[in-house]
Structure formats: C-alpha cells, structure tokens
Amino acid sequence: MGKIILQASNINKSFTNGASKLMVLENLSFALEKAEIITIMGQSGAGKSTLLNILGTLDSPDTGSLIINGHDVEKLNENELCTLRNRELGFVFQFHNLLPEFTALENILMPNWISNQDSKIAHAHDLLNKVDLMERKDHYPNQLSGGERSRVAVLRAIINEPSMILADEPTGNLDEKNAGKLIDLFIEINKDFGQSIVLTTHNPDIASIGDRKLILNDGQLRTYK
C-alpha cells in the first residue's frame, strides 16, 4: 500500500432549498494513494463536481474530515488553504478555464508565479515540448483549439508538481480524438511524475484508465465493475 495522499472520512454534503433538503454526499469515505488514478462515474447531478470541489477545498462539507498530504483541511486558515491549493492540488475543468489575457506559457506558469517559488520556465518549456505545443506557447487561449486549451490546462495543473490532480470531466467538451490525447497525457503524467489523479467522467472507456473505478450513486461511492 502506497502513501496516502488524501483521506476523506464520513463526508456529508447537502443543499437546502427552502424546506426541501437534498443530500448529495452521505457518509462518504475514501483514500487516495500516491500515484493512484481514481475515476469516478455517475449520472449528471449525482454529486461528482460537488465531491471534487470538496476534495479541492473549493467547498466545505457539512460534516466529515479531509486530510490532504497530512494537512487537516478543517484546521487551515484562508491563507494556508490557498497555499495548499497552490502546492498540493492541480485542477482541470471541463471548460479549460484559462485566463484569456495571458498566453499559453503564462497560463502554465501562473501557479508558479503565485507560489513565488523559483521560476519553472524551463520545466514549462519541457512540458510544452512534450505535448507538441512549444510553437503555440505565445498564443492566447482564443488562438488555440479546444484540444490545445485542454492540454495547456493540464500543464498548468502540474507545473507546481502537486500531490494530486482533480479533473472534473476534462474530456466532456472534446471530440473523441482530442479526448484520447488528453487521457493519454493524464496517464503519461501519472507515470512520469507519480501524481495521483481523481478524474470524473461519464464515459466508461475513459473511466477504465483508473486503478480504481468508482461510481457515485445516492451519495455513496461504490466500486464500478
């Protein structure tokens, strides 16, 4: 058993609308090991994005605890949470969410700039070469194709060498070819850099890359066969 990167215990999350209360996550517990890929499937509205938001410290659970790389998220203040997001987590969204005012290279380097650590421009160039985007490094997001934007978003997520990557339906907006390229990139990153990945998807083929394949149903995570 590898090192535990993330430990979620008894996570509950509900949304209230007037008198009605919708329970999205119910006593959900799971652990993510180093270099492990977990894929999570589930219907729309099952709570996949909510779960990823909680794991990414973008949202807080009603009850339950979350420990990321030894840090108890509940005990961290606002600045410590920012540092945790910057150093330990990488996010990839369905919609690339790149900053339109910055070039591809600048978008990739942004987490590095925010962390105020040594410049990782050489590493960014290596990554761009790896995904055949070196020639597009000075292009702005609106000058890139959907597939290229997604790859830039993935490079941005790994530039600070975080412990884990949280990918929320990253292929949802891509055609089959580009989706395949992106999934290959995730596998390569996992292999080369040993980063853990939690990936949500609707697609069973994509879910098959996971070391563990889970399905979110009725607020509970179960193994998907």
Partner: protein, 390 residues
Amino acid sequence: MSLTIKIANRFSNSPLGNGSAAGILSVIGMGVGCFALIISLAVMNGFESVVNLKLKGFDGDLRISGNIDGLNSDKIEQIEGVMSVMPYMERRGLINDKKDYRVVSLKAVDMNKFDDFYFLALRGISSENMILIGQDLAYRLRKDIGDEIEISSPLDQSFGLGFPPKKKLKIGGVFTTRILDYDDRYVFIPLDVGQSLFKRKSSLDGFDLRLDRDQNVSSWKKNHRLSLADEITIQTWEDLNRSLVDAMQLERLGAIVILSLIFLVAAFNLAATISLISILKMKEIGILQIMGAPSTLVRGVLLTMGLRKGIKGAISGLIVGVAIVMVQSVTGFIPIPEDIYIINSLPMTLYTSDVITITFIAILFIFVSSWIASQKIVRINPNDALQWVK
C-alpha cells in the same frame, strides 16, 4: 514587475470587458476634482498674497511696542536684518469738516520716510504739515488734495479748558489700500503734529519695521525676542491682523473640504467602476483563487486597477490645473475688473504643499473607494466565482 501589477495590467488592457466606458468617467471625475482644487486653491492663494502684500505694505513687517524707552530708530536700524524703521503714534481722533465729523485712527508717522516705508497706492505727496487720507474718507468728506481739514483728539482734552486739541492741515495725498475699512478709517499725520496733538502721550507708541527681503519675519521675531527687553512687544503683520489671517486660512480650509466633495463623488464613481470590473473579471478571479491566489493578491490586482484609473485622472487634472496656473501667472490671460480688485488679472499662486495636499487627498479617496469596492470580490468563494459564469 510584480505579479499583482502584471495581472492588473493585463486585466486593464483586456478588450474582454475591462469596464473601459465606466473607467473613462472615473478618470474624468478624478481629473475634474483635482483641477477644481488646484485652480481654487491657486486663486485663493493669489488673492491671499495680494492681501498679505497690502497688509505688509500698510503695517510693515513687524511692530515693536510696549515699553520702548531707550529705543530709537537709529538703534533699531542697527539690528541685523532691519531695512527701515518708522516711529509712530496712534490715537482715535476726529476729523471734521464744517458740517461733518468722522471718527478716525490718526497715525502720526515720520513723513520724510513715508514713501520709502509704506507701499501704498498714493495720489499726491507726503510732506510735513500735510495729512494723507484714505480714498473712501475723501469721498465721504468730499475733499481732495489741497483742501484744508481739521483734526482733533478728544482723548487728549484738558479738563480745565473743555476743548480737545485741534489742528488744521492741508490734504497732501489720498491713498488707496482696499483692505477692510482702512481707506475710511486711517489718516496719516506728521509725527510732530501727533506729538503736539496727543498731549496725554509722553512718548512714541512704537516702531514699525521693514525687514530685508531675505529675512523670515517669524524667525526674526523669534531670534530677537530675547535680545529686547521683556516689556517690549514684537508683533508680526500676521499678529496685527490675526482675525483676517485666520479668516483667510479658515476660508482656505473650507474650500479644500468643500471641493474635496468632488473627489467624493468621483470616488463613488470609481468604486462603481471597480465593482463592475470585479463582476466582469469574476471568472478570472475565481481561476486565480483556484490556483491558490491569496486574497491579498486579488485585492492587490483590484486596488492597482482602481489606483491606476484614479491616479491617471488625478494626474491629468493636476497637470492641466498647474499649466493654467503657470500660464495665468505669466500672461494674466484671465482678466478681472481692476476698479473692484485693484489688480487687472486673476491672481494665481500655487505652493508645492498645496500640490502635495491635493495629491494626498486624491490618493486617499482613490485608495479607500478601490478598497471598499474590492472587499466583496475578495471574500467570494472561488467555486462561486466560477459558477457565476456557468
């Protein structure tokens, strides 16, 4: 370049919703505020300088009074920094024509030194055995140069005789100061006439002093206070006209406060612009927060954008205002009626301290409004920021 400035630059120059239309209004608002304050203060300073010059022209730089036994003009002129000395006696008295009496301040001075000491607009000449009256008094008495007039000092009336000492003198000149009621109240008479008229005064009341140009009046007073006897009072022209000087300073402060309201309105506009930019850039701010940007960075970006817009306006207003003041000082292209104000063009004087004060007020308003506007966005949850655009 810091990351805060880099992001603020990109957001500001982005064609993708940078709130440029509202931004222009904010810039103009700040510009107008700065311009109005610069011009108003320059005009107030200008008029204040004119009044100060007139006060100094009438009173001299300093007055020495009190127990002045042992002092004389020659002795005072020996003191470092003193340019000229005017001995004087002053008394409330009457000036009377055949039918008309008016209470005036009779100021007995050395007429031989009059032209050198006093900087007054004088029509006629100052000479022994003649008096000088103000323009308003001459008008009221319907007298002019060469006419004879009688002055008396009721305070020096001898109990036994029942009549105050009187003297008939010719009007040698008519002066104009346009300061308060000076032109109606003051009458200059020769010193020897004063000495004979003011029978109850055994000596001079004091000396008016004019200092060398490079002398600072307040410093001179402070430095020489100890070298003169304790009973001697030294008053600067500001001390002598304290209420007027205070009134002018209060007026100036009032102008700054009132005109700062323009800044306040401009600051509201700027706050609205920053709020608009915050909404337009909500998604980008959410992305930054998700990447771990702390609230200080997000606030810094918004503050930088607000400060840039505000300062751009403030500097434009300052430059235009200062340029107009400089051109007016050199060319006097804005005229004013000379018969009312004595001078023919709008006086404008600007001090470095004023520019610093205005800049400080502008930056304060810009900073506070940007800070308030950035508060809400800084507290927003990053996930909510992304949901906003979804």
